[in-house]
């Protein structure tokens, strides 16, 4: 027997990672680093441009493999199995449909209108297929995830929800969020076992109220400052010559700051809401009816990471984006966990015995890449 290399393999870790275990809580961790991801990221961009966009499908695979592989639970990483070819085919199908749609709309406008209706049905189907694809190409401990949601649920969660939310100026956003989390959470499978979640609308509204308060308070402050300066602004409009040049310049700066602040308020409110809803929805979720999921993001910290990531990415022309992405992934993972009911070793070996609901032969040839 020729022993070329002897490689120690990773054993199934049973010690807890991250935080001290309360009960039997196992937290996720993120083992990637900004500098390592930087190389992957810049090569992805370069090859995507050089190949006129075609490489972007393979770039997505490398990026996801990096992030999934570094997302570690109980000492083992997740795996992303999609191939660049699958994703490319999925994109080409969507692209071909859009071309067909445009050609028909140009030459046979009526048929084009009919296609628009078809598109309305097509999008939810595409979303459901995309979620199924994403789930099926994800595995943990050599057992695949699966997604069994249908187009109807996707229509409610991803079309009716956002439309209702925007028609009511954001008042029904929690309802839409609940639909999305229920659609994804109740249709996700790991091996043959199901996830389920039913976040209560009341708790989501509590999170929503904080964001609404941030927006109202922020706008009041901006309005108040603007009111204080209204005399100067009016003078500037009526007779600019009366104002010294420096004052005009500072007025422009002030308006620019107001503009940025306006967007920052909505940005913070959105981040705070996202963290709050994630906490509610994940903590309401169970796996196999007894293992509870958990998310305990701190809203201010999450918003701070989101905003500072954005600013750093912007001022470095995107070059710090890999660092920002890794920083966010690390924070989110470290505040996500599972409270296992029973011995984790036994739980996972039982699931592995049952095998996956989807075998490799039933994998989709095409990958509509909607992340989840």
């Amino acid at each position: 027997m020729a022993l070329v290399e002897s490689l120690p393999a990773q054993g199934i870790g049973q010690d807890s990672f991250g935080r001290a275990a309360q009960g039997n809580v196992q937290r996720l961790s993120f083992t990637g680093s900004g500098s390592e991801y930087f190389g992957i990221w810049i090569v992805n961009i370069l090859l995507t441009i050089v190949t006129l966009g075609i490489y972007s499908a393979w770039a997505k695979v490398r990026r996801n493999r990096y992030f999934y592989g570094n997302t570690v639970l109980l000492g083992r990483g997740f795996e992303y199995h999609a191939t660049g070819g699958q994703i490319l085919i999925g994109r080409l199908i969507v692209f071909a449909y859009l071309i067909l749609y445009n050609v028909l709309l140009t030459f046979v406008p009526l048929a084009g209108m009919a296609l628009l209706l078809l598109l309305l049905c097509f999008v939810p189907w595409l979303v459901a297929r995309g979620l199924r694809f994403s789930a099926r190409v994800t595995s943990y401990r050599n057992v695949r995830f699966d997604f069994v949601g249908r187009a109807g649920g996707a229509f409610l969660a991803f079309i009716v929800g956002p439309v209702l939310a925007s028609l009511t100026l954001g008042i029904l956003v929690p309802l839409a969020s609940r639909w999305v989390y229920r659609y994804i959470g109740n249709n996700l499978r790991y091996g043959k076992k199901a996830f389920s979640t039913d976040p209560s609308i009341g708790t989501i509204y509590k999170s929503w109220a904080i964001s609404a308060a941030i927006i109202i308070l922020g706008l009041l402050i901006i309005g108040f400052v603007a009111f204080l300066n209204v005399a100067i602004v009016v003078t500037a409009m009526e007779s600019p010559d009366l104002l010294p040049a420096e004052m005009q310049a500072s007025l422009v700066v002030l308006m620019a700051i107001g503009y940025v602040l306006f967007f920052a308020i909505f940005g913070v409110a959105a981040l705070v809401y996202r963290a709050g809803v994630r906490n509610v929805a994940w903590s309401a979720a169970t796996f196999d009816g007894k293992h509870r999921l958990l998310s305990d993001l701190s809203r201010p910290r999450y918003a701070w990471i989101g905003i500072s990531n954005f600013v750093v990415t912007l001022v470095t022309l995107g070059l710090m984006r890999p660092w920002a992405a890794v920083r966010m992934a690390r924070y989110v993972n470290e505040h996500t966990g599972v409270r296992f009911d029973g011995d984790v070793g036994e739980i996972f070996s039982a699931i592995a015995q049952e095998g996956s609901a989807v075998s490799a032969e039933f994998m989709d040839i095409e990958g509509f890449d909607f992340g989840f």
Binding site: L7, Q10, G39, I40, N142, L314
Partner: protein
């Protein structure tokens, strides 16, 4: 469970501490995942069993030994190395190239293949939204409206699309104030406030409308929308993940950007106004008079700045006068 991966003849074999074979297969039937960073390598055997190891370098050495070293080329490019500085420089350079060459080309293609029904749908919904939110019904007297419509028909008939391609709508501007704007399908909107500002100078209003017709004929709105959408789409495609915040800003910001015409587009529309007015036998300085009026009444003396989408008013007036002088010389 802990075990070892060994090569046994032409086969790869996983065995436990007692050297009992757990899984095995010929090298060609075993799937070894490509290397990405330091994430564990997966070695999948034909029977579906999986061997995972963090010893990436050892696997690479083994593959190189077997003449399969080329499989790792992307990973070798990705390693943290001074070479990445060259990659950054090349990416920035290519990015500028994409923005300067590929984006305008894509916009032209998109404009050329846009089905004519699309601008009609877009315009109808924009007008409806504006009617619901800011605009009110016009309170102008019928006679004044008739005079403006007469002048408008005269220039519309001389434009490329002909009279039928344009419709003029009178509205009360409300928060929009004195304004005139064009929707991509040839629907023009003129606010009462602008007519009041003109104070009976119908020719000046026609000059402004000729400017708006210029926007429609040069398809400025459509170009602007495609440009904004193209920037967002290209950045998302090329950079892959840019963070949800940056994505939101691109999409929302793109929408805002699409609402305003660029400075070059304004200058082009100014020129169009001058040409159309000369053709119609009307006073080509009408649009310049409008800028003069703006200056006098609204104290708009601002110089062109990078923040504004419209060129500075005095600058525009001068450019128009120069153009008229040049046209008259010919």
């Amino acid at each position: 469970m802990p075990c070892r991966l060994v090569e046994d003849g032409g086969r790869l074999v996983v065995c436990d501490d007692a050297r009992a074979e757990l899984a095995g297969g010929s090298l060609s039937s075993v799937e070894i995942s490509a290397r990405v960073g330091r994430i564990p390598r997966r070695i999948t055997f034909p029977d579906g069993s999986l061997f995972e190891t963090g010893e990436n370098d050892a696997i690479d050495r083994f593959l190189a030994h077997k003449g399969r070293g080329r499989e790792g080329i992307v990973h070798r490019l990705e390693r943290f190395h001074p070479r990445l500085i060259a990659f950054v420089a090349a990416t920035l350079l290519l990015g500028v190239l994409v923005y300067r060459v590929a984006l305008p080309a894509l916009v032209e293609v998109a404009v050329a293949v846009t089905p004519p029904i699309l601008p009609q749908i877009m315009s109808a919904s924009t007008l409806e939204t504006m009617d619901r939110t800011v605009l009110g019904p016009s309170k102008l007297e019928e006679a004044l409206r008739g005079r403006i419509l007469n002048g408008f028909r005269r220039i519309a008939a001389l434009s490329e699309g002909g009279e039928a391609a344009y419709t003029l709508n009178f509205r009360e501007g409300g928060p929009v104030g004195p304004n005139a704007f064009a929707l991509p399908d040839g629907t023009l909107i003129l606010t009462d406030e602008l007519v009041d500002l003109a104070d009976g100078d119908t020719e000046m209003i026609v000059g402004v409308l000729a400017h708006e017709i210029g926007h429609v004929e040069h398809k400025h709105s459509l170009r602007q929308i495609y440009r904004a959408a193209g920037v967002a789409a290209l950045i998302m495609l090329i950079a892959g993940d840019i963070g949800s915040g940056a994505e939101d800003v691109l999409v929302q910001g793109g929408g805002l950007l699409a609402l305003s015409h660029s400075r070059a587009a304004e200058a082009e529309a100014d020129r169009h106004s001058v040409e159309l007015m000369i053709k119609a036998g009307l006073d080509p300085t009408a649009i310049a008079r409008f800028f003069e009026l703006l200056e006098a009444k609204l104290h708009d003396r601002s110089k062109t700045s990078i923040f504004s989408t419209h060129p500075g008013t005095p600058e525009r007036r001068k450019a128009i006068m120069d153009l008229i002088a040049a046209t008259r010389r010919d």
